[in-house]
């Protein structure tokens, strides 16, 4: 199981990388951490003529905090971000720990996971959950794309073939925001069959804002707008949380595969939304006390 032959370039600057992408178009593939791409190369399912290895591109591996958001360079390894978060974003920290295994996260990059856009992956869903933004660069300049617009289908994004993800921006939840994250996977470290993440802020016992994202349940990570609308401005009771999850689950368009039916995904998405919301609300009220 050896890859088909390819040429290899390892540009040192973003512009140089973009030149390669422009020149080779659909024939080129960007190699970041390679944890999804390398298996596809080894299986010969991906057969690029040119591999553009961006690992030596300078300036893409920083984690900084500006204007209440974590700015994460595209080459930041998932394992590195786990440590760099340092308590600032517990939801993201919890999500990172669910990605594969240590050896995968040591190499896997944050930007790579976003650009790969696996609908069952944690990072795209968490970025959607926190209203994050993807910063891209192409020869025509920079774009800043909201997560909601970025993920357009399974393994499909708004990224043009000659564009690179250079950074992801993760707005830090306001102090007092509670979080919840639940997923079901066949084994520890596997892609989720289905998962749900929630961020909830309360004020005066009412939900000030609720953000819920579901993953592994359809073509892209999905914000559960119906759940959010059901909760906002109301006192979060068990019954209301259940209503919210049910409303959102009915709007999902889950897929079926080897490991679970669409019906399973819809049903369990509802269960996991309930759990994630309950955790988020209890954490929010815990910190409010």
């Amino acid at each position: 199981m050896k890859p088909a032959p390819f040429e290899y370039v390892d540009p040192r600057t973003v512009d140089e990388a973009l030149d390669h992408l422009h020149r080779h178009g659909e024939e080129a593939k960007v190699l970041a951490g390679g944890q999804s791409l390398a298996p596809m190369l080894n299986f010969r399912l991906a057969r690029p003529a040119v591999l553009v290895d961006i690992n030596r591109v300078a300036g893409l591996d920083g984690v900084t905090e500006t204007n209440g958001a974590l700015r994460v360079g595209t080459l930041v390894r998932q394992r590195h971000l786990e440590r760099a978060i340092d308590g600032r974003f517990p939801l993201l920290a919890a999500g990172l720990k669910l990605i594969g295994h240590t050896a995968i996260r040591v190499r896997g990059t944050v930007g790579g996971s976003i650009a790969h856009a696996d609908p069952a992956a944690e990072l795209p869903a968490l970025l959607a959950c926190c209203d994050g933004v993807i910063l891209t660069r192409g020869r025509r300049g920079e774009r800043s794309i909201a997560a909601a617009e970025f993920f357009v289908g399974p393994l499909m994004t708004a990224l043009a073939p000659d564009e690179l993800v250079v950074e992801t921006r993760w707005p830090l939840p306001a102090p007092g925001t509670g979080w919840g994250l639940h997923e079901v996977a066949r084994r520890h470290g596997d892609f989720a069959l289905v998962g749900a993440a929630a961020l909830v802020a309360l004020s005066d016992g009412q939900v000030r804002s609720a953000r819920v994202a579901v993953f592994g349940c359809g073509a892209t990570p999905t914000r559960a707008a119906a759940a959010e609308a059901t909760l906002e401005g109301r006192v979060p009771t068990v019954a209301l949380i259940d209503d919210a999850a049910r409303a959102a689950a009915s709007k999902l368009d889950p897929h079926a595969d080897l490991h679970a039916s669409a019906e399973y995904r819809r049903r369990v998405a509802r269960t996991l939304m309930t759990r994630a919301l309950s955790d988020a609300i209890s954490r929010a009220s815990g910190s409010a006390r």
Binding site: M1, K2, P3, A4, P5, F6, E7, Y8, D10, L31, G34, Q35, A38, P39, L41, N42, F43, L51, D53, N55, R79, G100, H101, T102, A103, I104, V106, R107, R187, H188, G189
Partner: protein
Amino acid sequence: MTPRLIRLTVNGRAYTRSVEPRTTLVDFLRDDLDLTGTHVGCEHGVCGACTVLLDGQPVRSCLLFAIQLDGAVVTTVEGLADGERLHPIQEAFREHHGLQCGFCTPGLLLTAKAFLEEHPAPSDGEIREAIAGNLCRCTGYHFIVDAIRAAAGGVRR
């Protein structure tokens, strides 16, 4: 296609070799450097048999291309023992019957080494999570957990 010259350090020894782009790190170690202790189990990053340390951290060597590793520092299982003296983790695996066929063992030893350096007194749950990316088909993991716990000087908790 077009080969390139790379220089890297493996187990403290410097190597310069010409590599084809499509040669994975594990094939490079095994075929070009004759370090056959690193094993090929799946070539798609699931089994963990090919785990080596890259700059001290565990990685799947089937998911890296050797051409990427100019300047890298790699540790393989052959670099663990100090001459005739086994590394304490190797000793613990032997003492606790933490291996049977031995095929997954090199990957597990390196995963455990990196893990214990960061978690000197792990719980059993932490040990299990740390090695969950290394499939073993022989042991059921029970004695591997015992071995890693013992290597940390710990008792079952």
